[in-house]
Symmetry: C2
Subunit: 203 residues, 2 copies
């Protein structure tokens, strides 16, 4: 069976950087945006639209009035689209896991690929460190205030937690769902990647 | 400021082994049972009694009838004893942290010593691994059944969670209270200790 590493991460914690570093050090395939591209190709939905769907759980609180005026079709259609995107996501992840050793960022991969016995990592960070990382990556022309950036970070993480819980029934960030949870403000992503690669190469 | 590592651990997860290994690799002092000894000396209470007190949160649900018959003295006395043991525990931990670099296992040290900015580790493990470790350490003459051992593990961890929550207001095992949470059934204590020592020596 191939070796799989799944990385769940708070926004701005450096989870993607960890994935990329591990991929370079171990020679495993690295999948992140590629998953969205694959789902988009298979469902014939635009990548930007798929990205929106996979970033949030389906809105189960469709307004009754709207639902009535659409004879229930609007919410049904949306729910079906979410379900088909999730189903395709599952297919894509299975294919990736069966193809070669790989690292997968996000997408409930720790849950979907549980039978592959992945090494499940959760990366988090102190808010100040997350703000700093987000500012470094942000488009300087946007000129987001600290308050605005805080709101973005909190909203994205809240959406990720809801999405994860919706599809897995589990609590996002609860250590029981991971093998390693690490605060990247204290143990740097670079050091963590090197240590993990060292351990995994011996296995 | 001295370097402090605190280790919280599920029963049978190998947290003490991690502490001892780190102590050997880093040359930091290691404190575990020594804390109880110190509290016992200072409070003039027997070590076995102190051990009982520091293993459980005070019983705040003293029956009203009993309380009445004792004019409230029984529960008051017990509560005061718990409080004085916790206060002494705090003093002992501060003295240890001020003395030299050290590793402290349990005792809410991550919370009590927060101003020392400790590296806070939480060690957990799959139940099968915990059972195995506990059987290896148990007195073979006791001949505990699997069911009995499971009950012991679950009860001790439940008590630890309650104790931690009572004195800190925090949830035991919640990643936000630690810098590193690790499943020792997946990443061995030996490998973890070596990796951490490598990282910490560079700091």
């Amino acid at each position: 069976m191939n070796k799989i590493i799944t990385i769940s991460r708070e926004f701005g914690s450096g989870g993607r950087e960890l994935g990329k570093r591990l991929s370079e050090l171990l020679g495993y395939a690295y999948y992140d945006k590629e998953i969205i591209e694959q789902i988009s190709q298979r469902t014939q939905l635009a990548e930007s639209y798929v990205q929106q769907i996979v970033d949030r759980k389906p809105n189960t609180f469709f307004p009754i009035t709207t639902s009535h005026s659409m004879h229930g079709d609007g919410s049904d259609y949306l729910m079906k689209q979410h379900a088909s995107v999730y189903a395709e996501q599952t297919n894509v992840l299975f294919e990736m896991a069966e193809k070669s050793d790989c690292i997968i960022v996000g997408r409930c991969a720790d849950y979907i690929l549980k039978d592959f016995n992945p090494l499940r990592i959760y990366v988090y960070a102190n808010m100040e460190a997350k703000l700093k990382r987000c500012y470094n990556k942000a488009n300087p022309e946007e000129e987001l205030t600290r308050k605005q950036m805080l709101r973005i970070i909190n909203r994205i993480d809240k959406d990720r937690a809801k999405y994860y819980h919706y599809y897995t029934g589990r609590k996002w960030g609860d250590h029981v769902n991971y093998d390693l949870c690490v605060n990247s403000s204290v143990i740097s992503v670079k050091e963590l990647a090197e240590s993990l690669a060292h351990i995994l190469k011996k296995d």
